[in-house]
């Protein structure tokens, strides 16, 4: 019970800090929407892709995934801010194990990332140029999308904590996160369909955890009578397994307030 109270306190603290940081709040939501407008319109009108029907709608799940990627990176970086301000030492000197402290921090990252992803989803659904197909019906499709967003955030926040434990500086952390996450994003089906790629790129897509989340959202929001690239059961199984495993490993790492 006392541990739960500590986790809730840590989550509330991070949420409050996030809401106080207006620039982070606005930019993380506006950036994907801006990209959606510019990239979506630019590619649709300028390149006129023949084999992607309604590119802006196709792009939306990818932008939601991108929002979660950025959000998890920023939220995981707050570990360094807490370390440098010394507050992490104070938390670790409380009567709780380091896992409780990390769990609180990572859960707050999940909540912030999921909320941002859902805001982008909500705003996108209100834009006339974006036509979601809601292939399973509005409510089930929405639930599938929410599940994908939450699981992606569990995976990415866990990964962020895992990397933060091995990288000493925040600058290095951002570099490595970009190095890891941008390929994740490019080969996830966020910007172009995986089934149109050469075989070796398809392999990268298959081993990419983000692909399963993007595919799940494509199935719920974009596809119309399609089974998707992987299919909903496989998306569900792989995403859940990876999210739980990486989150567990990420929050179970040893914590040194000195690095």
């Amino acid at each position: 019970m006392m541990q739960l109270e500590a986790i809730v306190a840590l989550v509330a603290r991070d949420l409050r800090s996030f809401l106080r940081s207006r620039s982070q709040l606005y930019s993380s939501v506006l950036f994907p929407l801006m990209l959606l407008a510019i990239l979506g319109t630019g590619v649709s009108e300028g390149l006129d892709p023949k084999n992607i029907d309604d590119y802006v709608t196709f792009l939306t799940p990818g932008m939601i995934a991108m929002t979660t990627v950025f959000s998890s990176t920023f939220s995981s970086a707050s570990y360094y801010q807490d370390r440098d301000s010394g507050i992490l030492k104070v938390f670790l000197a409380s009567p709780h194990s380091p896992r409780v402290v990390l769990l609180g921090k990572t859960l707050s990252a999940v909540i912030i990332g999921a909320a941002q992803g859902l805001i982008v989803l909500g705003v996108a659904s209100a834009i006339p140029a974006i036509n979601f197909h809601w292939q399973y019906g509005v409510v089930p499709s929405l639930l599938v999308s929410i599940f994908a967003i939450v699981m992606l955030n569990f995976f990415l926040s866990g990964l962020g904590q895992l990397l933060a434990s091995r990288i000493r500086s925040m600058q290095g952390f951002h570099l490595v996160m970009n190095l890891v996450l941008f390929p994740f994003l490019f080969f996830s089906g966020a910007f172009f369909p995986l089934d149109k790629l050469p075989e070796w790129l398809k392999v990268l897509g298959r081993i990419n955890p983000l692909s399963y989340g993007v595919d799940m959202m494509h199935l719920a929001l974009y596809a119309d009578g399609s089974g998707g690239y992987f299919g909903l059961p496989l998306d569900f199984a792989v995403l859940t397994l990876l999210a739980v495993a990486v989150f567990y490993i990420g929050t179970g790492r040893s914590v040194s307030p000195d690095r």
Binding site: A6, R13, G86, A93, P257
Partner: protein, 333 residues
Amino acid sequence: MNLSAAPTSAPAANAEPTQAIDVCDICYSYGDERVALDALSLQVLAGAIFGLLGPNGSGKSTLLSILIGRRTAASGTVMLLGQSLAPRLRGRMAIVFQEPSLDPNMTVRETMAMQGRMFGLKPRDAARETSTLLERLALADRASEMTATLSGGLKRRLELARALLTHPEVILLDEPTLALDPDSRHGLWQHLLAANRDGCTLLLATNDVHEAERYCQTVALLDRGRVVAQGAPGDLKRDLRRDAVRIEWKTDATPEVLTMQSWPGVGHVRLADRTTHVTVDAASPFLTRLFQASGDRVHSVQIEESTLEDVYFQLVGAGIRPPSDGIPRETAR
């Protein structure tokens, strides 16, 4: 004077612990090379103000980090409040860190509330106690301000208020008055002494000799991870045979100080600006020679009471505070 670490023993089963902290033969190394604690043993009685005095790198902070569970000793035993170290025991203790440890994005009151929640206090109790502490530490009018806006002294006071919130039985203090002005330092100690009067054990890690002498009932002198002496400050100084002489120079006296170090009977020499602190076997022959050699450059001379730093120098052959500019101003004799 006890020139070795006090003998330790495990507390008797079912007995009320009279030792707040009992550390026996603990070792800790950073990697393969630097030994931070080398079979260190000490006991801190419940309700005491106990000082760990030693230069940077002598193992003080490492010992504190072991006591709060941040590090684990490679060997030896650590008992806290009569029990083996465990996370739940941290609920009965608190620490004031050497470096600032406040969240700049939280207000003063939020900082206190967070501590209360982390330690399982009921919100109403935490709020009431927070109001009392902020009033007592003269922080009440800043309660709604972000901690980033506080001065260094106020931040320290807030860190102390946070530590006192949970009524800890033991408070670990890692150089708590570092970089504070004299008024803030004095004020902070008044609050710490009040907590001690209420029964709280204070374990102070410091390299401030005067602070240790003034406030600690018992002091352990640390050198390279070992306790070289332990006792009441007065007892530790009683067996010191050397006199301490303070010399004020008219001009820079670096050449004189370097020469002085080779004189017979001269021990610890420390130069700060135009003031030199020297420990000698006997003041009279030293002063005679001083005035013969450099009388025209001496502004004033004062024979002082020896400090724990002189004791430390006699035992270890080095000073507690590092020389400020690299001139070899401290020599073992």
